[in-house]
């Protein structure tokens, strides 16, 4: 009983995690781009993975083909995905934007760490040492 209730929510589409919000002031194509970028950034969609076809994603999200097409074109010009004619679209190589997104995230975390370090009155050397320690702890795990 419980099982079938759960499945009702899941069968709707493979990509139902991507949402278009009408209260979001950003245009629909930007909402789609951002959610695809997020999937790539966290590694759910690894490089080389095939993206849903434009028509399939449009049908799954109930948005027009042209909106999804616009999102894919912009993602491609950003280097996040690669489209091969007649073959479909794929997540670009890690060295491409997936890597860049990780890079950006690292910068953010480092800036936050530097800020907190300063608040605590740590010298740059202290902070560097703490980072080394964090890496050693990671290796132990």
């Amino acid at each position: 009983m419980f099982d079938s209730e759960l499945s009702i929510h899941c069968i709707h589409s493979m990509y139902s995690g991507i949402n278009i919000s009408q209260t979001d002031a950003r245009p629909m194509y930007l909402q789609i781009m951002e959610q695809i970028r997020a999937r790539i950034a966290v590694g759910d969609w690894p490089s080389g993975r095939e993206l849903p076809s434009i028509r399939a994603l449009a049908a799954a999200l109930s948005v027009s083909v042209i909106t999804v097409k616009r999102a894919y074109l912009d993602l491609e010009s950003e280097g996040v995905i690669v489209t091969r004619h007649g073959k479909g679209s794929f997540v670009a190589d890690v060295n491409g934007l997936a890597g860049e997104l990780q890079e950006e995230k690292l910068e953010e975390h480092l800036a936050a760490a530097a800020g907190t370090g300063r608040q605590l009155g740590l010298t740059p050397e202290d902070l560097a040492e703490r980072l080394r320690r964090a890496i050693r702890n990671l290796d132990k795990k």
């Binding site: 278009i20 009408q22 002031a25 245009p27 629909m28 194509y29 028509r55 399939a56 449009a58 049908a59 109930s62 948005v63 027009s64 083909v65 042209i66 909106t67 616009r70």
Partner: protein, 296 residues
């Protein structure tokens, strides 16, 4: 693409005693959904009747799926699914009876798909049509058109009178049709939210005339509201492509249908905010502007 356009109207005119449709031209390519938007009495239904060959134009040309209308309507109609909100099924017969009836006429009837649609639309084949709610009736008529798997669907107000859940069921089904890139849909609607969501191209008409027709992303990219604060005594330069300009003391609101970064650079530091517009806002602004320019 060189494929035959699914709908081509060129310089179409149709005059009635109190209403004239004038110089209407539009194209619908395969694989696309066109939202056909206009206020009441704009000429949407007249245009659709012309597409269906139910009316003959006084001037101009109408071709549907490559067939001249209304002359070759019998050929064209094999592959058109037409639904309008004034269609009535036989009240004393069941939905199942209607399905068999339609299946006996159209060889393309897809019984499997019809079965799936009954389920997705929460309908019952054995129920008499007279017992259906108005929303269920609308879905039943749509089912009969969809299950024929026509190449072109022409839908006059398909979502009017539907509750939000039923509207989503119907929109999902329409999008599903478009998985096949040789099919297309033209639908008229007042509901600009539905149109904005699922249309690839949009045509606005008002008072029998075409106001604007272009691809949806282009529409949304072109229109902007620009809020400015202009110090007293400063004259605003004359700007091209302004749809409206409202001045309230130092606060100026500009609406443009040709937005570009150049325009922003030109306006300079007095710009406080730039807003995108929803399709509904664009629709209302362009209809008012069109009436103003036409001196109507």
């Amino acid at each position: 693409m060189t494929a035959t356009k699914h709908i081509e109207m060129h310089a179409v005119r149709k005059a009635f005693r109190f209403f004239t449709l004038e110089d209407l031209s539009l194209d619908l390519a395969p694989g696309q959904i066109m939202g056909f938007v206009g206020p009441n009495g704009a000429g949407k239904s007249t245009s659709i009747r012309l597409m269906m060959g139910l009316l003959a134009p006084d001037a101009g040309e109408v071709r549907v799926l490559g067939h001249a209308m209304p002359e070759n309507q019998a050929l064209a109609k094999r592959d058109i699914g037409f639904v309008s909100d004034d269609m009535r099924l036989f009240g004393h017969a069941t939905l199942g009876w209607h399905m068999q009836f339609v299946a006996s006429i159209y060889p393309g009837w897809d019984a499997q798909y019809a079965k799936a649609l009954i389920k997705r639309f929460n309908l019952r084949a054995e129920q008499n049509v007279s017992g259906l709610s108005s929303g269920e009736h609308t879905k039943a008529v749509l089912l009969l058109a969809l299950a024929r798997r026509p190449r072109l669907l022409i839908l006059d107000e398909p979502t009017s009178g539907l509750d939000p859940v039923a509207r989503h069921e119907v929109l999902n089904e329409l999008m599903d049709v478009l998985r096949d890139d040789d099919r297309s849909i033209l639908f008229s609607s007042h509901n600009t939210v539905d149109v904005e969501r699922i249309s690839d191209c949009i045509t606005f008409i008002d008072r029998g005339r075409l106001v604007d027709s272009s691809d949806k992303e282009d529409f949304l990219e072109r229109w902007r509201r620009i809020y400015m604060q202009v110090p007293p005594g400063t004259a605003l330069p004359d700007l091209p492509h302004l749809v409206s300009r409202v001045v309230d003391g130092q606060f100026v609101t500009l609406t443009t249908d040709r937005f570009s970064p150049d325009l922003l650079a030109f306006l300079g530091a007095n710009v406080r905010e730039v807003h995108r517009m929803s399709l509904e806002e664009i629709f209302v602004a362009s209809v008012f502007h069109h009436r103003e320019v036409a001196g109507l």
